[in-house]
């Protein structure tokens, strides 16, 4: 009688572990998906601001293109830091083009995510485009 009861308890523990493992696996996937969505949300919240800021900056300058680098926490950093360190970086690239209308100057802004990892002593980049603004008006002179 006691042996039978012990086997019941063992069976119960085994079944509970199985159900718990299954539920934990599903829940971990949900946590991970939620985390990824939150990270993407943070990127999408910061990228438009950074893009607009870079675009407003190029309006006052005479250069044809420019880029601004941000680190993983969206603090501005420089090319030297980017070249030397692994990690996540965001590049805001502004390229201007001349429109068909006279005195009209437009530009494109791209926000790209660089994930730099060290592999075999070398830094490798994985680049993803996360936001872009097309054909934005850049020329202040149009409006005098």
């Amino acid at each position: 009688m006691r042996t039978k009861q012990r086997s019941y308890i063992l069976l119960e523990i085994l079944l509970s572990l199985l159900i718990f493992a299954l539920a934990a696996w599903i829940c971990l996937k949900l946590f991970a998906e939620g985390g990824r969505a939150a990270t993407r949300a943070k990127e999408l919240a910061n990228a438009p601001t950074a893009a607009a800021s870079a675009m407003e900056q190029i309006k006052t300058e005479t250069v044809d293109s420019m880029d601004v680098i941000y680190d993983a926490n969206w603090n501005r950093t420089d090319h030297e830091h980017f070249a030397a360190n692994a990690g996540t970086y965001y590049f805001v690239i502004v390229q201007q083009s001349h429109g068909s209308a006279v005195r009209y100057r437009s530009g494109h802004v791209y926000v790209q995510k660089y994930e730099r990892t060290e592999q075999g002593g070398e830094l490798k980049n994985k680049v993803t485009q996360i936001y872009e603004l097309h054909d934005c008006w850049l020329d202040e002179e149009v409006l005098g």
Binding site: A23, C27, A41, A101, L133
Partner: protein, 140 residues
Amino acid sequence: MKRPSPIGAVTVITAIMVLCLTVFAALAYSSGQAELRLAQAGAQAVSDYYEADSQAAKLVAMALEGRTEQELRASVATTWDHETPIAVDYDGRTLRAEIPAGRRQTLHIEVDRMYNVAKRGYEAHIVEWRTIADTEVGTE
């Protein structure tokens, strides 16, 4: 003799743990998705605004070149592929346009084309360049 219950303490504890885990996981997931939707809407609003702003600047540039209202409208008809059309009103001196900037706001511009003697050319004088929430449109 009373038979032991098939559901023991281990099962009860596991059920409580699984329930808690599921609730927190669902909360984390839905919160992440809600944040993402909000950020996407914000990013789209910025894109929409700059698209409208760019379109407005093109209209102003064309007006400064001496194009007519028909030409401005024809240009808008070929380049603007959105559901809500752009309203253009130009009498050769004052350009008024209402450009949809997303689903909930409109960029309203009013620009005067004025001759600058010193520069020997036309330049734009902005009377109004602002976004209006769609509930305000038509009430002004």
